[in-house]
Amino acid sequence: MAADPKMKFLVVDDFSTMRRIVRNLLKELGFTNVDEAEDGAIALQKLQGGGFEFVVTDWNMPNMDGLTLLQTIRATPSLKHLPVLMITAEAKKENIIAAAQAGASGYIVKPFTAGTLSEKLNKIFEKIGLA
């Protein structure tokens, strides 16, 4: 993978199992610099601390949901450049459209495979000129 293996990821999901799975998959793809947040509000705090280069987030979470997190990221000058990949069980077409309109870099519907994650990551890297 051409993208920097030291690239720092933030994985946002309210279920620890899903955070662990995404973290493990990223590790297999060569990305070991991964931090976790259990909802949008905590994620935003961590992101504002700086240093992150990629956000992988769930949609349905307490306190702050993934769409609000995405919208907040896109509305914050210091964060709006961050790639945001949504991995969610929400499968209504209006969800996908809403996410795309809010500026999501990719949309993966659960349940998903390691291959899908790898493919979407590469597509995003291509788009932002990292691959």
Binding site: N24, L67, E90, A91, K92, K93, E94, V109
Partner: protein, 281 residues
């Protein structure tokens, strides 16, 4: 004797009252009810009771109006209250009968006792599945480095053997390679495959939740179906027609559990990608 017990009691009561008032002719009034007894049912008894109460109230009102104003007022209040009590009594009876006829009394009783139980059961399912997920993830965390070790060890030995075949290895080095290979095959490899196998067994055993949660979920599905049927019947009777087609338009619905016949949802990643492509994203 075909008359029921209820009628017998009433007859006995009637007999005793009739005896007080008509001591000379106790037989005549008794005979008629006995003859009619086989046709008597609960409703007739209730109607008779109601009539007698209503008649008493009328008499009381009539008597009261003939006496002083204070007594008149008290009697009138009492008869009004009695009328209200009577009315409420009739309504409660009607409601009870209706619920009983529709089977809702059983449903309500069952719901009250079943819902806390269903909550506990679902918590149990959540608990077991979470435990299983943790066990599996822990097992893979343990097994992955073991597999990596075996892969790396085999690759290192393989490269050294390649050198043997390319005549690039000295005799002492070859002897060392033979010793290392023997140790790898006899000790490292069996030890690591055994440890990996133990983790595979752990992953397999972590699936034992399926049996338990399956049984619990089946029970809850049954309960939910009963509840739905009952509640839908009530709702269809109550909700105005215009309100029935309003859809819930939330963006947080969780997983689609049954996509059959729905056009507003996607069922796989390919459809997500197609939709985004078609929109130019």
């Amino acid at each position: 004797m075909t008359a029921n017990n209820d009628s017998n009691d009433l007859e006995a009561l009637f007999d005793s009252i009739a005896a007080d008032f008509v001591p000379e002719k106790p037989v005549a009034p008794v005979k008629t009810p006995v003859a009619a007894a086989p046709a008597t049912d609960d409703n007739d008894d209730l109607q008779a009771l109601f009539d007698s109460v209503a008649a008493e109230a009328e008499v009381a009102t009539a008597n009261a109006s003939a006496t002083s104003s204070v007594v008149d007022e008290t009697a009138e209040n009492w008869s009004n209250q009695e009328a209200v009590f009577n009315r409420i009594g009739h309504m409660a009876r009607a409601l009870h009968d209706t619920l009983g006829q529709l089977g809702y009394d059983k449903l309500l009783e069952k719901t009250v006792s079943a819902l806390p139980d269903a909550k506990d059961r679902l918590a149990y399912v959540a608990n077991l599945t979470e435990q299983a997920a943790c066990r599996v993830l822990n097992a893979t965390d343990i097994a992955s480095p073991l597999v990596d070790d075996m892969e790396n060890g085999a690759r290192a030995l393989g490269e050294r053997w390649n050198k043997v075949f390319a005549n690039q290895l000295s005799t002492p080095d070859f002897k060392l390679l033979a010793v290392d290979t023997r140790a790898f095959l006899n000790e490292q490899l069996p030890q690591k495959t055994k440890a990996t196998h133990a983790q595979l067994t752990e992953i397999m055993m972590a699936q034992d939740f399926q049996d338990l949660t399956g049984q619990v979920i089946k029970k809850i599905v049954g309960l939910a179906q009963e509840l739905e049927t009952g509640l839908m019947t009530v709702l269809l009777e109550i909700v105005p027609e215009a309100k029935r087609t309003v859809e819930v338009t939330s963006l947080m619905n969780g997983p689609v559990v049954n996509a059959e016949g729905r056009t507003d949802v996607v069922v796989n990643q390919g459809q997500v990608d197609d939709l985004l492509d078609s929109l130019g994203f």
